[in-house]
């Protein structure tokens, strides 16, 4: 992926090889500007790659998008403010046609229950908290039973407490829906806790430097965040992110404590 801005073209992504087996949960983690979101947008066919290929169950991203087998959750909830919770969740149905075969086996009411918003069906987005809005966005991404759920830092704007709660809920929703999921995140703990596999990226040009498989069993529980296996994975992700810098920084006289 190459961006042409003013002056020199910028190589945003280079040598990215990434595979998400069907039904699995994968995460991409990396510093700001490493091209995580760009990668997700390439998969969702919002942008086109300069070179290389992306396939989703054998389809090109364009074909997958037209077949409505993608669910995308943005950083911000991106709800339509004039639509109620129910109408926002049903927006994809309005686009595809209500009698479409892609329609979820679940009714809207069941999806609303799945994301824990029963009783708020007729509320408008501005009457909801940020976490509730993001749950509406997740339900909206699930209504057409996507084969892959793309999540672009969906909880980045939430506080830590709400975020952990949402992580657990998202895992529950994901395991019940049976889709594959690809999550872009800034948080090491979130990446490890959620995923079967974590891809660590580095910036300029964006590339995948480390791949870490998480051996924690499913369903995940919050107390797993205290296990040695969890810390082992967190440390490996941290090494993947900061490994090179630690080597450079530790050469001066003063030893630098890794955190």
């Amino acid at each position: 992926m190459v961006f042409y801005g003013r002056g020199e073209p910028v190589i945003a992504l280079e040598k990215v090889a990434l595979q998400v087996p069907a039904g699995q949960f994968a995460s991409i983690i990396g510093p700001s500007g490493c091209g995580k979101s760009t990668l997700l947008r390439l998969i969702a066919d919002v942008m086109q790659p300069h070179a290389g290929a992306i396939t989703l169950g054998g389809d090109t991203p364009r074909a997958a998008r037209h077949a409505h087998s993608l669910g995308f959750v943005f950083q911000a909830p991106t709800l339509l403010p004039w639509r109620s919770v129910k109408q926002n969740i049903e927006l994809p149905l309005d686009v595809v046609g209500r009698r479409s075969a892609k329609r979820s086996a679940r009714t809207t009411a069941e999806l609303i229950e799945l994301v824990g918003l029963t009783g708020f069906e007729d509320a408008l987005p501005h009457q909801l908290s940020g976490g509730m809005q993001q749950r509406v966005a997740i339900a909206r991404a699930l209504i057409l039973t996507p084969d892959i759920l793309l999540l672009d830092e969906p909880f980045g704007a939430l506080d830590e407490i709400t975020r952990q709660r949402m992580n657990i809920e998202l895992l529950r929703i994901w395991s019940e829906s049976g889709t594959s999921a690809l999550l872009v995140t800034h948080s090491i703990a979130e990446a490890v806790f959620m995923s079967d596999r974590v891809y660590v990226m580095s910036a300029r040009p964006g590339r995948i430097t480390t791949i870490i498989d998480v051996p924690l069993e499913r369903p995940r529980r919050l107390d797993m965040m205290r296990t040695p296996e969890f810390f082992e994975c967190v440390n490996r992700v941290r090494d993947g992110l900061f490994g090179h810098e630690q080597i450079q920084v530790s050469t001066p006289r003063e030893p630098v404590e890794a955190y």
Binding site: A44, R65, H68, T78, L91, P92, V95, L124, H126
Partner: protein, 261 residues
């Protein structure tokens, strides 16, 4: 129905203060006039009201023609401005041209062009309708242009990921997000149409608030001049108020973010 009633109720609650202020001010002017503190060209409010009492025909015979001429010009302008605004947004090449023409029309002094238009279009109501349209088009065009571009890039991406067609994007995203801007334009344009029609009536009209104003001015009949001013304010305010009410019902998701009404 209940929502319309509650909207009316809210509107009433929002307007009673300015209304009360106006009454108090009128009372003060009346008292000042009776105490001979005001110059001769400011009549007592009671004298102006007495004009209505003495000749209600004068009011109705002049108010109605101005109202329908202003409204006709306004609706013609609304149709043309929203069409031109949509065209400008969908055809980028025309954007600058349409916008600049609209700015130019808006900056032409009506007082000078009304007699010229009268020479061209004749002295019938068509001159006042045309001027009302020219005077009110700009805010509606700007409202349409800004409104249709108001959807943010994430919302557009969402429609793209959903593979929505152009017409679906227009229906589900672009038009609803344009409504607040469109209503702002419609609201601001309504008084301009009234003022345009009245100014155009000066260039030759036998009926209308503008004609009444001109006759009263030439015969030094200050209460009648002020009566015509009052009628102008009423018409312009009513035009604004009707759209403000419709906006409250139509743009129901923005009640909390309204700045001024």
């Amino acid at each position: 129905m209940a929502s319309v009633l509650s909207t009316l109720h809210k509107a009433l609650r929002a307007t009673w203060r300015p209304f009360a202020t106006a009454i108090v001010l009128i009372g003060i002017i009346e008292a000042a006039k009776r105490a001979h503190l005001l110059p001769v060209f400011v009549p007592a409010p009671s004298e102006v009201l007495l004009e209505i009492w003495n000749g209600p025909r004068l009011v109705t015979a002049n108010l109605a023609p101005t109202a329908w001429k202003a409204a006709s010009g306004y609706f013609i302008a609304a149709i043309i401005a929203t069409a031109a605004g949509s065209l400008a947004v969908s055809l980028r090449a025309l954007y600058g041209t349409i916008y600049n023409v609209s700015v130019m029309i808006n900056s032409v002094p009506i007082i000078a062009t009304a007699p010229l238009l009268a020479l061209w279009l004749g002295t019938g109501p068509q001159v006042q309708i045309a001027i009302a349209a020219l005077a009110s088009q700009f805010p509606m065009l700007v409202g349409t242009m800004q409104g249709l571009q108001a959807a943010d890039s994430r919302q557009r991406e969402l429609m793209h990921v959903l593979s929505a067609s152009r017409s679906q994007t227009l229906r589900y995203l672009l038009i609803p997000s344009a409504l607040p801007y469109l209503f702002a334009g419609l609201k601001i344009a309504a008084p301009s149409a009234v003022l345009g029609a009245i100014t155009a009536e000066w260039a030759g009209a036998d009926r209308g608030v503008g004609a009444m104003m001109l006759y009263a001015l030439f015969s030094y009949d200050t209460p009648k001049v002020w009566l015509s001013v009052l009628l102008t304010c009423l018409l312009a305010g009513a035009g604004f108020g009707i759209w403000a009410l419709i906006e409250r019902v139509a743009v129901y998701w923005q009640h909390d973010v309204e700045l001024a009404d």
